[in-house]
């Protein structure tokens, strides 16, 4: 009889344990347990992830085929435009170097802001449900990784380190709805806040009404708030929503990073994020 009563109480007991776990997680006491379990499961995750990437490549190849012709035409046209722009930019770069020398900035390396030691991490796990956007890397504290460090690929900003273990780290992707990044458009210098949307796309919010935002313009990190380096590519504007009665404009942004096929990423360990204090009034940059 007692055994039967205990069996009936099990769901209630487990519910209590789950609630207790939630509270312990919120105060950070579950971190050591998570550390141990993720450390144990990392090699298994890595193996499965490699297999999954290969499988994904195969299915993706079939899916991509129909888009390739259309994309090729677009890229050829874009390539012609970029060639011309490249020549122009090289001239500007040359001019910039001369100006820097004139302004006695010769000692400063213009690329220092995003330079620093970088750690290559392999993506070994992804978020198990569709509602959140995180990835797990196979590098952690032992490789010098710390919380809030920026994570990038050659194509742009991926996210920032959200949790770190000894040999793993978890990255909050910029496409997660809880992520917010201060950004600037390249040509018009319009500022705004890049936020993730549930469907995995990006939106640039809080763009002042007076600023000009145009479709096709590229978006970079602004460095405002000190949590991310400046001038890391985020994406390209695909649409602008402007209503006269609202204070701000909103723009849809297509990320340059292909978040569905991330395999290797770079963690910028040379950059020290600034933790804003309560008194500061910088916008919420995560």
């Amino acid at each position: 009889m007692d055994r039967e009563r205990f069996q009936n109480l099990i769901p209630a007991l487990l519910l209590t344990v789950a609630l207790l776990g939630f509270i312990l997680h919120q105060v950070g006491w579950l971190q050591p347990i998570e550390n141990v379990l993720l450390r144990l499961s990392a090699p298994l995750q890595e193996g499965l992830s490699t297999a999954a990437n290969r499988l994904g490549d195969l299915t993706q190849a079939a899916r991509d085929l129909r888009n390739l012709r259309r994309r090729n035409e677009e890229l050829e046209a874009q390539n012609a435009r970029l060639l011309l722009e490249n020549i122009r930019l090289k001239e500007i770069e040359h001019e910039t170097v001369l100006l820097r020398e004139l302004l006695n900035f010769a000692l400063d390396n213009p690329t220092l802001e995003v330079q620093g030691a970088r750690v290559v991490g392999r993506v070994i796990g992804r978020e198990p449900d569709n509602l959140q956007r995180y990835i797990t890397l196979d590098v952690g504290r032992e490789a010098g990784i710390e919380r809030n460090m920026p994570v990038v690929t050659e194509r742009g900003l991926v996210g920032r380190i959200d949790a770190v273990g000894d040999r793993w780290s978890r990255v909050l992707l910029i496409i997660d709805p809880s992520s917010a990044v201060n950004a600037l458009t390249q040509s018009t210098r319009a500022s705004g806040l890049i936020q993730g949307l549930p469907d995995g796309s990006l939106e640039m919010r809080k763009i002042p009404q007076g600023d000009t935002v145009s479709v096709g313009d590229t978006v970079f990190t602004s460095g405002l708030g000190g949590n991310l380096p400046r001038q890391i590519l985020i994406g390209q504007i695909t649409g602008v929503e402007r209503k006269d009665y609202e204070l701000y404009q909103t723009a849809r942004v297509r990320p340059t990073v292909d978040f569905d096929h991330l395999e290797m990423v770079l963690v910028v360990v040379g950059f020290e994020p600034i933790e804003p204090t309560a008194e500061e009034t910088v916008p919420d940059e995560q």
Binding site: P11, V17, G21, S49, A52, L55, D260
Partner: protein, 166 residues
Amino acid sequence: MTIYLVIPLLAAVVLVQTTIMPHLTVWGIFANLPLLFVVSWGLLQGKKEGAVWGFVAGVAMDLFSGAPFGAATLALMAAGFLAGLGEASVIRAHFALPLAVAFWATIVYGLCFMAVVQIAGQPVIWWESLWRIVLPEAVFNAALMPLILLPMRSLYIRFRRDEMEW
């Protein structure tokens, strides 16, 4: 079915969910295998075992997830418990019943998950998440339900007389 079998089984399912499933997307959505296993077992064995399987799979999901601990656990327990209310009738009932249960269990899972995330202080875009993520996922999960339910029925037939042993 002994708990010593349930834990490795669900841990393996969650491992597949974190590594392989995100690559098998349809319009950006992938199926929630642990949820389908929990719902299937709940349908076959009742609300108590549905909740227990939900707890085990949920803890494993939470350990691999960046979401607040407890989000997947509470959501899967709720989904497993509710699925268990349709116990037994599933064998004789219309084949559409498990599909409908998988659909609504996914909705319940999504709502519970987002509620816990919101309570933990993270922003949740409710309407858009429901419309663009939870609803398509519910349809996807419902479509895949027979593929999970059939092997689970074999497991059920093998272990039907066994109470969960602790």
